[in-house]
């Protein structure tokens, strides 16, 4: 697991936002496209690609993609 791949996986959870917008420091909840469905997509992506269960509350606490990456990294141990 590396941050570049994670940012790329993260970007695929969105339909309308251009891929180049996504960077580790992006405050993803400020995107116009952000909705609760993107939150579900991120939960599903973390399960499928990394085998990690994250909660909606954990996504709510995160500001940037880097924050979610750190969470997943920590759970991966």
């Amino acid at each position: 697991m590396n941050i570049d791949q994670f940012v790329s996986d993260f970007a695929e959870c969105f339909d309308d936002t251009e891929a180049e917008v996504f960077t580790p420091t992006l405050k993803f909840k400020e995107l116009e496209e952000w909705s609760s469905l993107q939150g579900l997509a991120i939960i599903a992506m973390c399960r499928k690609s990394y085998g990690i269960r994250i909660s909606g509350a954990e996504i709510q606490e995160a500001d940037t993609i880097q924050d979610v990456y750190a969470l997943v990294s920590e759970k991966l141990g």
């Binding site: 339909d15 579900l40 909606g56």
Partner: protein, 332 residues
Amino acid sequence: MAAYIKAISYYLPETILSNQILVEEFPEWSVEKIAKKVGVVNRHVVKNDECASDLAQHAALSLFDEWNIDKSCIDFVLLCTQSPDYFLPTTACLLQRHLGLRTSCGALDFNLGCSGFVYGLALAKGLVESDTANNVLLLTAETYSKYIHERDKGNRTIFGDAATATLVSADGFAEIGSFELGTDGNGADNLIVRSGAMRHPDRFEDIAFDKSGNPVSSDHLYMNGSEIFNFTLDTVPSVVDNVLAKNGVRQDDVSLYVFHQANKYMLDCLFDLMEIDEHKAYFYMSEVGNTVSSTIPIALVEARKEGRLRGNVVVAGFGVGYSWGGCILKCK
């Protein structure tokens, strides 16, 4: 003795809540995009004076008519609802009167949501196989629209009202196999209407709006979507594995999976996670939405019309409680 589904029908209230109406009410919101993801175009909702018993009565009358059933054969009524007409009496007792069923007929309500149809099949099977009843009328009827706040665009997009009627007897077109049932009350707070019943009879009047403008209110339906999503992905794969094991059926020998039609996005994720072939995954929600305990029987009716109810059909319901259940229907 084995128990079978002998007949099955459903009823939708007349009023349609279309995506077009939602777009007009929420112009700031990409309703079309969301609706495409959740897979719902239209949902039916009750009028103020329509209740669960009215919907269930229509569904039962459709069953009697479409399947040419003499209602005098019904000797037990099971009604699954979380929106009963009254605290008491039991809505199933009202239906005995409204449907003109014989008085030597057992009747009871049970309070479950999305797992309710599967639990109803388990109860009906027990009644038939124990020779307690010969012809069980299993009804599901829900009017969640009455619980949803008018500004709750998410839940209004997903949920629809409906009722279904299923006759369970000693013969029929689908033998009811063995069940896997489960409960985890730790999830109670994630799908709940907090006020109105005896724990909190008075309204909280605590409505607040989140950053997206969604109302959060103890006096209306509250659903923590991400927690329900995680619960479903945590639970359903093992429920299905256990259903297959209990029934001695291999995954390759399943012809169709009819899951609770929560929303298309969740089912897509679930089928993807479980690596279920898309041609074995059944969807029917675009014209009805998530009708809670009615989604599985509605989907069974539609799958049967399409000639897809053949062989081993896995049904699984999961949601509010948390409560879940699955079984196999061995279809002729």
